[in-house]
């Protein structure tokens, strides 16, 4: 463990200021501010079209913002591709998982970053080392699979999610962004993925969790932030808010109480 100065003296690990994103005439994000501390699990909530996924795609380098800046550890950064974000340790687990089903678990984990040696300008993949590294990495995350040589298409939804998370954390990730990691899972598998998020936090990794499931948010997050129609709406430490208040934020109201909850019969 390395000694870190007091938290309030340090800039946030990742910060975004005044992020806007336009798609033609549509404003997807309007001057959104955002910050994430070391080892923090941040929940990002909002209704469909609130801009959560767009913001995350900007933070992970898939989209360029139309305006605003991203600051990593106090210095501005600019991502023109996911590779730039990978380089400083920002990884994303996509909602559709973005795995190649026709390839093995270990190949998916190191896809695009295969361990190997250079020869005539080509990267000769060291498959033996790749399998070994994948097996060790999965063991570190306590993810059990039958064999790292299984094709991803032969796995269950939860196992695929686990492989996607393993890929995101294979290279000293500092920030892992997860877009609805539990949405497509059987209920039995949800708990496992949430536990995996907690163990990432224990390993010092910061996590951004986008979820519609407030149970997930309240189980793993330290802080929750709500977007509404592409703009910041509200945020609070988890201990200072409640389920009902957060439901209100998603719908664009403040001071929401149990009495107003949409899922209650009055």
């Amino acid at each position: 463990m390395h000694e870190e100065p007091a938290a309030d003296l340090m800039p946030p690990l990742l910060e975004a200021r005044g992020i806007s994103k336009y798609f033609g005439a549509i404003t997807a994000l309007d001057r959104v501010a955002f910050h994430l501390d070391r080892g923090e699990v941040l929940g990002v909530v909002g209704d469909n079209g609130a801009g959560k996924s767009t913001l995350m795609k900007i933070l992970s380098g898939l989209f360029l913002p139309s305006a605003g800046e991203i600051v990593f550890q106090g210095s501005p950064v600019r991502f023109t591709s996911p590779r730039d974000a990978h380089r400083i340790g920002i990884e994303m687990v996509y909602q559709d998982l973005a795995l190649a089903g026709n390839m093995t678990i270990f190949e998916n984990i190191y896809l695009g970053r295969e361990p190997g040696r250079r020869l005539l300008g080509m990267n000769i993949v060291d498959q033996g080392r790749s399998r070994q590294m994948a097996a060790e990495h999965l063991a570190r995350l306590h993810i059990e699979v039958k064999s790292v040589d299984q094709n991803v298409e032969d796995l269950s939804g939860g196992q695929r999610q686990a492989v996607a998370i393993a890929r995101a954390t294979a290279f000293d990730a500092r920030v892992v962004i997860m877009d609805e990691p539990t949405a497509a899972l059987a209920i039995k598998e949800v708990g496992k993925v949430l536990d995996l998020i907690k163990s990432l936090k224990e390993h010092g990794v910061s996590v951004i969790l986008i979820s519609h499931r407030l149970d997930d948010v309240f189980y793993v997050c330290d802080r929750v932030m709500a977007l509404f129609r592409g703009a910041n709406f509200a945020e609070a430490a988890l201990r200072d808010t409640s389920r009902n208040e957060v439901i209100g934020w998603i719908m664009g109201t403040k001071g929401h109480t149990a009495a107003l909850a949409h899922d209650r019969v009055q």
């Binding site: 992970s60 898939l62 591709s81 996911p82 590779r83 990978h86 994303m92 996509y94 559709d96 998982l97 973005a98 795995l99 190649a100 089903g101 026709n102 390839m103 190949e107 998916n108 896809l111 695009g112 970053r113 295969e114 190997g116 080509m122 990267n123 000769i124 993949v125 498959q127 399998r131 070994q132 097996a135 060790e136 999965l138 063991a139 306590h142 059990e144 699979v145 039958k146 064999s147 790292v148 040589d149 298409e153 032969d154 796995l155 269950s156 939804g157 939860g158 196992q159 059987a186 039995k188 598998e189 496992k192 536990d195 163990s199 224990e202 390993h203």
Partner: protein, 359 residues
């Protein structure tokens, strides 16, 4: 300890059957032909002949295979073959030094391939079928324009070497010899197999075919991979033009009409998926051999060429149907795996650091 478990046995019977089943078909065909036509089929001349005959289609097929792995298609290879062949013949007739003439064939292929790749990625044409259908016509037209539609015959000896020369091999008997084109095939197939298996860009070709989105977010340049496979397909078409020019001692503008369909057929018979991401070099070679042996065997048995067409059509359909059946069986296996996922969950509850405090 867990690490060793998951690194365990890599062999599975189902996988072996999927991978080598097609080779068994080839062997059965050869045994059948050897029994049916013992004095002709197994003669060195006939086997050499088969090798020479499949040379062109096998080079087109290996390039087509790379394209089909990315869920694409290259309809232009037959026309590219003709253009490259005419360019080679004309350059040779014009008295260019032979090393330059030999370079022209593959170079023409690479250029048209790059054009196909750029049309697909830069112009964002909706499907490679469109772009390569365009070049199929345009390149054939260009071939006729530059040659005035007339064939050229009588090439210099160095240019004929790859396509027509044989390396004597007395160990195989008095007429024992291996055509140079067979070595070209060996090098190309071996090279592509190594490239696909060992080089990261080769693995990326499978990734792009399996899930382009996954490839993109992994930092792979999907457009770069697509351009590469069309360039390689063009290169192999140009190389096959050299072999065909050498074998026929000529260049003719009608060469390779419909050759793209034979190449596609060989790739599909060889078990590659038309939807990308699946297939092996060994399978493609088996596909080429099955088509070559079928034609050779039916010729030896004096069956008309019309029957050959009919049979090849049936075999294409059968080969894909076998694939469909196999896929269906795989889905059943997957359902089994899904029910096993429940066990996976229960087992995982045991790990330390989950509910307790240790990690």
């Amino acid at each position: 300890m867990a690490a060793r478990d998951v690194l365990g046995s890599r062999f599975s019977l189902a996988k072996a059957a999927e991978r080598y089943g097609i080779v068994v078909v080839v062997i059965v065909m050869m045994i059948f032909l050897a029994i049916a036509q013992p004095e002709y089929f197994l003669s060195i001349q006939n086997l050499t002949n088969v090798l020479k005959q499949i040379a062109m289609n096998s080079l087109l097929a290996i390039g087509m295979f790379l394209v089909i792995l990315t869920a694409g298609i290259d309809l232009s290879v037959g026309s590219v073959l003709a253009l490259a062949m005419m360019a080679v013949a004309m350059a040779d007739k014009a008295g260019w030094p032979w090393p330059l003439v030999l370079l022209i064939g593959p170079l023409v292929g690479i250029m048209i391939g790059a054009l196909n790749g750029l049309g697909l990625t830069l112009l964002r044409l909706p499907h490679p079928f469109i772009m390569t259908l365009g070049t199929l016509n345009a390149v054939r037209g260009l071939t006729n324009l530059i040659s005035d539609g007339r064939p050229i015959s009588g090439l210099s000896a160095p240019v004929r070497f790859l396509g027509s020369e044989q390396i004597p091999l007395p160990a195989l008997g008095p007429f024992g010899a291996i055509p140079v084109s067979a070595f070209v095939l060996l090098v190309c197939y071996g090279g592509v197999a190594l490239f696909l298996r060992k080089v990261s860009v080769g693995r990326h070709i499978y990734a792009v075919g399996g899930n382009p989105q996954a490839a993109r977010v992994s930092g792979i340049s999907v457009d770069g991979v697509l351009i590469l496979v069309y360039v390689l397909s063009g290169f192999f078409a140009g190389l096959s033009a050299l072999l065909l020019a050498g074998r026929t001692d000529s260049g003719f503008p009608n060469a390779g009409i419909g050759a793209e369909l034979d190449a596609i057929a060989a790739v599909i018979i060889g078990g590659a998926s038309f939807f990308g991401g699946r297939g092996t070099v060994l399978g493609v070679f088996s596909g080429v051999l099955i088509m070559g042996l079928l034609r050779n065997g039916l010729n030896l048995m004096n069956v008309s060429v019309f029957w050959q067409q009919l049979l090849i059509g049936i075999i294409i359909i059968l080969a894909v149907y076998v694939d469909v059946l196999r896929r269906r069986a795989a889905v059943r296996t997957e359902e089994l795996t899904q029910s096993r996922a429940a066990h996976w969950l229960l087992r995982r509850r045991r790990y330390p650091g989950n509910r307790s405090t240790t990690t």
